[in-house]
Amino acid sequence: MNVFRYIWQNQGQVLELTLEHLRLVGFSTLFAMLAGIPLGIVIARRPRWNKPVLASANIIQTIPSLALFGFLLPVPWLGERSERLAILALTLYALLPIIRNTYTGIRGVDPAVVEAGRGMGLTESQLLFQVELPLAVSVILSGVRVAVVISVGLATIAAAIGAGGLGEFIFRGLAMVDNRVILAGAIPAAVLALTADFGVGWLERRMQTR
């Protein structure tokens, strides 16, 4: 009956699925940062694009996750490998907090500081990389932190399309009506989420500029 004994007995599989889970979360967060941070920078510079971009990211976020996985299934190159598909879906979900926080972080830099930089003759890219991004980094990271925590939870659903991860235990447990099996997926997932939350939060505080 003991959950922990069950986990211990199946430690090999728990570890394997945890690593799979981490891959899903890690890649999707990475891709979301690669797309979301530049997008956030662009809309901070061109307020006209702010509404459409944020609205699109918002709409994606409202699609129920199971439905999104389903929608993406027929996409040719993706459908063949469910892991790619899961990573794409998770990336889309992670976009909103990252874009929004990049935008708010850059918009939140003291205008006097930006003006001083510009007035001293910094080029736009020097201004971005030496002033705006360093000052926005902790706000951006807090968006990343939210994205990671959401991803850890959503990635459990990836098992429904055969992408693996800790969701396998959860779905298996549901089918077997066995709480131990469900928890063998849910507990490591919760630990992952808390660890990521703490880790990125720590980074965020370290990057905080006075």
């Binding site: 500081v113 001083a116 007035g119 003759g121």
Partner: protein, 262 residues
């Protein structure tokens, strides 16, 4: 050192030619003509909202005039390379605007650094500037939030001087300071100016500061230039606005003196 007299025939360092600036339906500046000669300290005096900051930002092209032209060293600044223009002009902004994530050293050394100076020369320059503005050398490693308001303003001045620009735009650089510190900074400014002979455009709304620091005072009101006078002329001026300033200034002293005797 007394070369100021010959400046009348030279090309003005900064020249506003019939400059107007409109933004969001407000006429901020209109028909503005003014010449700033090399080596002088021109004070822009005017009440809040009269367009002083706007005028400075037109010089380094943070703003573009709606009509008219601004020439720096004879060259229309619409044609100048904006980045080069800004690096050749020191700018002390009204809100100081130090970079909060940089130490004092990096704040002051920024323009030399992006200008590609070698590190040891930058470090030497920073030390020299700290001394020049009356700050202790060990402040170099501090962050702006670890400084007092007065120290921050000094760093702002040092930062503007870093790459040795010939022109300095100073927007209420000694604002929001207690009168004693302010006095000290003004005295240091005069001593500095005696050595460096920069062309300075200095914004203030404090008549005492204007009289003390300016070689000439440009009086502004609602986006227009009212008159340009030397400090001595200013005190004797019959211009209603100028004399209103002088009166307000005198009354402050007088009423204080009267209260002292009663």
């Amino acid at each position: 050192m007394l070369g100021g007299m010959q400046a009348t025939t030279a090309i003005p360092e900064i020249e506003f030619q019939d400059v107007s600036y409109r933004v969001a339906g407000t006429q901020v500046l209109s028909g503005f003509n003014l010449q700033v000669q090399s080596g002088e300290t021109l004070v822009l005096l005017g009440r809040s909202g009269s367009g002083k900051t706007t005028l400075l930002k037109l010089v380094n092209r943070l703003l573009t005039p709606s009509s008219g032209d601004i020439r720096v060293k004879g060259l229309s600044n619409a044609k100048a390379d904006v980045i080069g223009l800004r690096r050749s002009i020191g700018y002390v902004i009204q809100d100081v605007g130090l970079f909060p994530h940089f130490t004092v050293e990096r704040n002051i050394g920024l323009v030399p650094r992006i200008g590609g100076w070698p590190e040891d020369r930058i470090r030497a320059r920073v030390q020299e500037l700290l001394q020049l503005v009356g700050l202790a050398a060990d402040l170099a490693s501090r962050y702006p939030h670890q400084l007092s308001g007065g120290q921050r303003q000094r760093v702002g001045v040092a930062r503007a001087l870093a790459a040795d620009p010939e022109i300095l735009l100073m927007d209420e650089p000694f604002g929001a300071l207690d009168p004693l510190t302010r006095d000290e900074l003004q005295r240091e400014f005069l001593a500095l100016q005696q050595r460096l002979h920069k062309t300075v455009v200095f914004v203030t709304h404090d008549l005492r500061e204007a009289l003390r620091l300016g070689t000439r005072i440009a009086l502004m009101e609602a986006g227009r230039l009212v008159t340009v006078l030397t400090p001595r002329e200013f005190l004797q001026s019959s211009d209603p606005l100028a004399s209103a300033y002088v009166r307000a200034f005198g009354e402050g002293l007088e009423s204080a003196a009267n209260r002292g005797t009663s």
